[in-house]
């Protein structure tokens, strides 16, 4: 039998790689260089249409939208990855402990994760932000907490599945200590499933961050953020549609890139 989807895997994967590659390149570049300064204003160039000078055109202050999108992209990617790093590691820890040991701890942790998971994520982040106050690190902390349950759920189910696998039984018979069983024996086996959920988590983090910035509770100016740009731009859709399309399509580009990439990996495994 032909390996399932083997013909297609490189199409998804290559498309995903190209898109994410470009996005990461621009994002990382944006950290320390942009064609124009992201805050330089020029009254003469207000709302210039996209041209060779300004690839994405200019906004209501005459600032170069392409530079601001690059800056925004780097903010979004940095926040996205920190949120994922935070929630994934917490997810692994909690998931492993509850999955492997079960009992009362498992019961309580699962009740809490159900409650947190049930709540619409943006709403929960909203409440957390109002506690912690605005600012980049609070956004990361708030979103980090909101996304922990999704990882706990996945890691826990994997640990429960593998907890009773024969080779784990044998490891116990050998007298391997529990911690080593958790992190040396079981953990490497859940990477393929875990990796896909990290990808999806990254997308959710980006969508949530831009959603929050759109609502004005995410990243605050002068930090450029795609969500904020989009909410400023929606008023000028008729005369300056590029102002809204540039950040909007960039978000779609990044998220689509990552989902294609994770789809590619899933099919190859």
């Amino acid at each position: 039998m032909r390996k399932p989807g083997s013909g297609k895997w490189n199409k998804y994967l290559t498309a995903g790689l190209i898109m994410t590659g470009i996005a990461l390149l621009l994002g990382i570049l944006g950290l320390f260089w942009t064609p124009y300064s992201t805050t330089a204003m020029s009254a003469s160039e207000k709302f210039d249409a996209p041209s060779l000078r300004h690839i994405f055109g200019t906004d209501n202050f005459g600032r170069d939208i392409f530079s601001r999108v690059m800056k925004g992209l780097s903010t979004t990617i940095v926040i996205g990855s920190l949120v994922v790093a935070f929630s994934a590691s917490a997810g692994i820890l909690l998931g492993a402990l509850t999955g492997y040991f079960g009992g009362l701890v498992d019961e309580i942790v699962m009740r809490v994760t159900d409650a947190v998971n049930g709540f619409p994520s943006i709403l929960l982040a909203l409440v957390l932000i109002s506690l912690l106050g605005n600012g980049r690190q609070n956004v990361i902390l708030a979103l980090g907490i909101v996304f922990i349950p999704s990882y706990v759920r996945i890691v826990r189910s994997e640990f429960i599945r593998l907890r009773d696998a024969d080779y784990i039984g044998r490891a116990r018979l050998m007298g391997v200590c529990r911690i080593r069983i958790l992190f040396v024996h079981i953990l490497p086996n859940i990477f393929s499933v875990f990796w896909v959920s990290v990808m999806i988590g990254f997308n959710n983090a980006i969508l949530a961050e831009s959603g929050m910035s759109y609502l004005g509770i995410g990243v605050q100016p002068p930090d450029a953020s795609l969500g904020k740009m989009l909410s400023d731009a929606q008023g000028y859709l008729q005369n300056a549609p590029w102002y809204a399309l540039a950040p909007g399509l960039t978000i779609v580009w990044v998220v689509l890139g990552f989902s294609l990439f994770s789809e590619g990996i899933r099919r190859r495994v």
């Binding site: 009362l104 044998r170 391997v176």
Partner: protein
């Protein structure tokens, strides 16, 4: 009369079936025997028109009573096939668990056969189904009719599948390993049922199996397939008495048969185990035995002694609310395992074999009674080679892990990295694998190779006692023989004792010196192998042993 004329089937390139020619005459059961990958199932599926669309008929054709159902070069005529499927020919599959739609009542699934091919009224259909259910031995057809698949036992489900297959009295019934997934006693009943149906209906049957003995008991003629070809075809007795092909001969020998008498490693010198010994007694009698020197006189100290052991397990989820209901899976077990001995443990699934073995290994601590070990860290060999090795690690790492673990627990056994590696290479050789496999991953090994590494991993710390839970039943017949041979070789070399669990009486006969028979959590009989086979005491043991 159904003819398969030099049929070849290819899947996107390589041919899996190569010009097979078979004839199915009315009233005759044709057996097709071969190992996995020999193409026997693909042949059957192609005959039934159920093979995947991606399959390509590269040569030959299938003729059903002079109607050409399928021919090379021409695409499958689905409409035509549908008229035949169910009405003229039907199929019974291997996995009764999954072959029925889990969310539809069993009665309605069988009714669908009638709804498709007849225009009977609802009452007539219902009555016909109940009638057929009785015919295939389902006692109260009414409740079976209304129940869901998961509410029936494996045997009952297979009877429903057979009812479905024969309800329209088709000319051909294809059975693909119909009994492999069932328990021994139920296997016999299903075989009998198929045989009576064949004689009563005088239809032709195609019986596909990997088990030569089973084919011998039911088939009139047998075709042996290997790598997609029919290597030998003939009457059942001719095949067994004087097989022409070397492969067929190999197959026949690999199957453990009880024709040859066996010699127990103890040559009859047993600590008096037969009478129901009371706990206090065993010391002195052992003492006197030990005095005897030499191999026969080898001291036979017990590796583990089990006294009045009952093992419990919790039912219900471990959540906060549900009360914990304790069930005794094993009651009052009394036996010992001696050094260098293979003690067999047989019984039907659910009789507590595995629970007992887990208790002995200390994996289940909810017990009453006593287990005294004299060796440290007994090990286990698992049934499924695919889940017995950690897929994320290399073979070398796997073989060294037990040494690392032992070193961590007991400083005296600490070894340098080189020694560990050398020990691993040595064990790899002893289980019959080349050194190149050291850096490979389990996914790159065959089932047999994996079981070899698993055995190596279990024995590298020289455990003394090894519990083998159905170690060979997941392997092909030829590979089974090699693994059993390996286990016996290692047993002699390392003075191991085995607790050998299996549902296959022949395997146990070949491997074990003594056999324990378990039923519903109790050990009903223990005895030396030949003695047990010659005159079993318990009624249940007779039924169990006779079934082969």
């Amino acid at each position: 009369m159904i003819k398969i004329e030099n049929l070849s089937v290819a899947f996107d390139g390589p041919e899996v079936v190569k010009n097979v020619t078979l004839e199915l005459k009315d009233g005759e059961i044709l057996g097709v025997v071969g190992e996995s990958g020999s193409g026997k199932s693909v042949t059957a599926l192609t005959l039934m028109g159920l093979v995947a669309d991606t399959a390509e008929i590269t040569s030959g054709r299938i003729v059903f009573d002079d109607v050409v159902l399928r021919e090379a070069g021409k695409p499958i005529d689905k409409a035509l096939y549908r008229k035949y499927q169910g009405a003229e020919m039907s199929m019974v599959f291997q996995e009764p668990m999954t072959s029925l739609n889990p969310t539809v009542r069993v009665g309605r699934q069988v009714e669908e056969m009638l709804r498709l091919h007849t225009d009977f009224s609802n009452e007539k259909i219902r009555e016909k189904v109940l009638e057929t259910f009785e015919a295939v031995g389902l006692k109260d057809a009414e409740t079976v009719y209304a129940s869901y698949p998961h509410q029936l036992s494996g045997g009952m489900r297979q009877r429903v599948m057979i009812a479905m297959a024969v309800i329209l009295h088709p000319d051909l019934v294809v059975c693909d390993e119909p009994t492999t997934a069932l328990d021994v006693t139920i296997q016999n009943q299903i075989i009998e049922l198929l045989r009576t149906i064949n004689t009563k209906e005088q239809n032709s049957m195609l019986f596909i199996t990997h088990d030569l003995n089973l084919a011998r008991r039911i088939c009139h003629r047998i075709a042996v397939m290997k790598d997609g070809r029919v290597v030998e075809l003939g009457k059942t007795e001719d095949i067994f008495e004087h097989p022409e092909e070397t492969y067929t001969r190999e197959l026949i020998e690999a199957v453990p048969s009880r024709l040859k008498r066996r010699t127990s490693v103890f040559q009859g010198k047993y600590p008096a185990e037969e009478e129901e010994c009371c706990p206090g007694r065993s010391e002195e009698s052992l003492g006197e035995e030990e005095a005897v020197g030499g191999v026969e006189g080898q001291a036979f100290p017990p590796v583990v002694e089990v006294r009045d052991l009952s093992v419990f397990y919790q039912d219900g989820s471990n959540s906060l609310f549900s009360r914990k209901k304790r069930h005794a899976a094993v009651q009052g077990a009394d036996f010992s395992i001696y050094r260098g001995e293979s003690l067999g443990l047989v019984g039907e699934s659910g009789c507590g074999k595995t629970t007992l073995s887990r208790a002995i290994l200390g994996m289940n601590r909810d017990i009453t009674g006593e287990i005294r070990h004299t060796t440290v860290r007994p090990q286990m060999i698992f049934q499924d080679p695919y889940s017995s090795l950690n897929p994320a690690k290399t073979i070398g790492w796997l073989l060294q892990e037990p040494l690392r673990a032992a070193a961590a627990l007991d400083k005296s056994r600490a070894m340098s990295r080189e020694d560990m590696e050398a020990a691993a290479y040595d064990m790899l050789r002893r289980v019959g694998m080349e050194e190149t496999y050291f850096h490979r991953r389990p996914s790159q090994l065959s089932g047999g190779q994996r079981q070899r590494v698993s055995i190596g991993q279990a024995l590298i710390t020289n455990p003394g006692l090894v519990v083998a839970d159905e170690p060979v039943s997941a392997l092909d017949v030829t590979i089974q023989a090699q693994i059993m041979e390996l286990m016996q070789k290692l047993q002699q070399e390392m003075q191991l004792s085995y607790l050998f669990i299996s549902h296959d009486i022949n395997v146990v006969y070949k491997m074990c010196d003594r056999i324990m028979v378990m039923k519903d959590g109790e050990i009903i009989e223990i005895g030396e192998t030949q003695e047990l086979f010659d005159n079993p005491k318990q009624e249940y043991t007779k039924k169990l042993l006779a079934s082969h």
